[in-house]
Amino acid sequence: MHEALNMALREEMERDPRVVLLGEEIGPYNGVHYVTRGLFAEFGKDRVMDTPISEESFVGVGVGLAIMGQRPVVEMMRMDFSLRAMDQIYNHMAKIRYMSGGRLSVPMVLRGPEGPGPNPGLTAQHGQQLSVLFAHCPGLRVVSPSNQYDAKGMLKAAIRCDDPVVFLEPGPLNNKQGEVDDGDYVLPLDQAEIKHAGEQVTLIGYGASVALCLQAARDLERDGVSAEVVDMRSLRPLDMGPALGSIRKTNRAVMVDYAWQSYGPGAEIVSRIATEGFWDLEVPVQRVSGKETPLPYAANLEELSKPSVEEIVAAAKVTLQRQ
């Protein structure tokens, strides 16, 4: 996915001189996850700024730039490190518009990879999926793309958005290839989308878990089960339309998420389905999530800790047993 993100950044920087990047090792080092590759050479040190290891404060710098009319895009080398910046994110980036009675806005993007990937062995402090920490905070927009096409269009839209946007890059998909549309297009930041049409069960994901859902749908096909895959794309605001519409048809759903299940993003989505889609559900929604433990190092444990295609397939079949 990094090519698409890189292209989005380059295009927006060319289009709008107010767009500036801040982050660790994004300059001469070219970025740890390739997303900023080549941009320092092309745009120079005033627009691609290497930061010391001061997450709280360079997020705050982003807020200051944004209220002054710049368009900062701030990278967290890994989203885990945003734990250091939570005060700036919750109390400044997200709230200044409201606290100022709408007099100021914070057109800023906070982006970086989350979850257990691209490479294995990230361990407990580097591979967390903390999406819900952002999704819970009014004042933010929180989105996560599931493929190259969406990644580019959504990042460009995020940069042009006058609200602060937390752009969650699915770590496991960072190195996923696939050609990138070189057109200048933007995508909505508040719309879920059906990524695979099906009839019998609805698989719901966002970011990296969409890839798992799509694979599960293919596997289920082989077993004669037709699954529909919904990509939420935006966690804040939530667009429940496509999921509820799909469930109206399938009457069954599986929520898939890399995050820890308890209080993860899936909790809100499932509760919305269970209330707004109550009369359409024939069986309980199934949940497939990351296991509730810090990310372990050992290969076998790390695999066990992640949501798997097999679990999704099994969960889908559970929803089909009780008719």
């Binding site: 010391p52 001061s54 404060s57 360079f58 944004a66 209220i67 009675g101 100021l104």
Partner: protein, 352 residues
Amino acid sequence: MSSRPQPKLSTPVGKSADGGAAATTLSAARRFPLDATTLKNYLRQMVLLREFERLGEREFKNGLIRGYYHSYAGQEAVGVGLVNALDLHQDYIVDHYRDHGHMLLSGMDPMRIFAELFGRANGVSKGKGGSMHMYSPENHFLGGDGIVGGGISVATGVGLALKQQQRDGICVCFFGDGALDTGTFHESLNLASLWHVPTAYVCINNMYSMGTSLERHSSLPRLVDRAVGYGIPTEQVDGQDVWATTEAAERIFRKVRKEQRPYFVEVLTYRYQGHGIHDKPLNYRSLEEETAWHARDPLKLLSDHLVEEKILSLAQIEALRAEVVAELEVKVEEAKQGPEPAPEELMHDVTL
């Protein structure tokens, strides 16, 4: 701790890391020329700030104001000296929660500040922000803040934006002595120094972080000594004396503007009231200490001079005060007339 700053500013005078002649002493400052008109104007401003807080605390007790109220009383010479040295057509202020004085000095209408304190729709933030959260882009006042140290990195970004946009302005960031204990202060100074950010970091050292005296929260009692690790000039200023604050501010801001480099300023002063309106300061500080500071009250120092120099008589000063109070009372009444925010305002301004 004996080296703790005393009212009479017995502490060694601030030395500048870059060796510049940044020393500020009362005498030196007194030599700084301020004409009669300016001094009269400054006195009027100080009275405005002092009386604003008196009325504000009165209205708090009357129940019109809720939550937090942090009085600026005692620190007037800091704001008057520093904010007047700015050109708010191009410069910006980022403040913390003890912000009423700086808002008034940046030209915001007291009526709208009162209205915000009353939680009315005609308030600076439509009544949604409250005492700590007012912003006036027109006046280049970019907010108070409720998080200690929360504005320091934001002010670094504001300064950086001015640089990136190739504008002439500088940014001034106000915070308290307690903010030096927050990591973000140190992170931000390092960034500002590396990036040559035109932001002046002004620590208003009023000797207390809430109920904790300087020597109980700061490993070194001279805060300039805690800001030397960033290769930026630092300086200690007498915050009771408006000549001193004016002289220092004009010189320092000129330097920040010209050299496009950050600067750290420690202004020594004292807050007269408790930390917040419910706080009883005599629980943690002595009457003697308070009295000693009141002996160098910034309004007193200026009034005495104006009287000595026969620029104003005591009667004229009293008249001026009465006039200011009368004006403020009108603002209070006007503010009270404001409606409470419409219910639908609850969900407005969260996002676009």
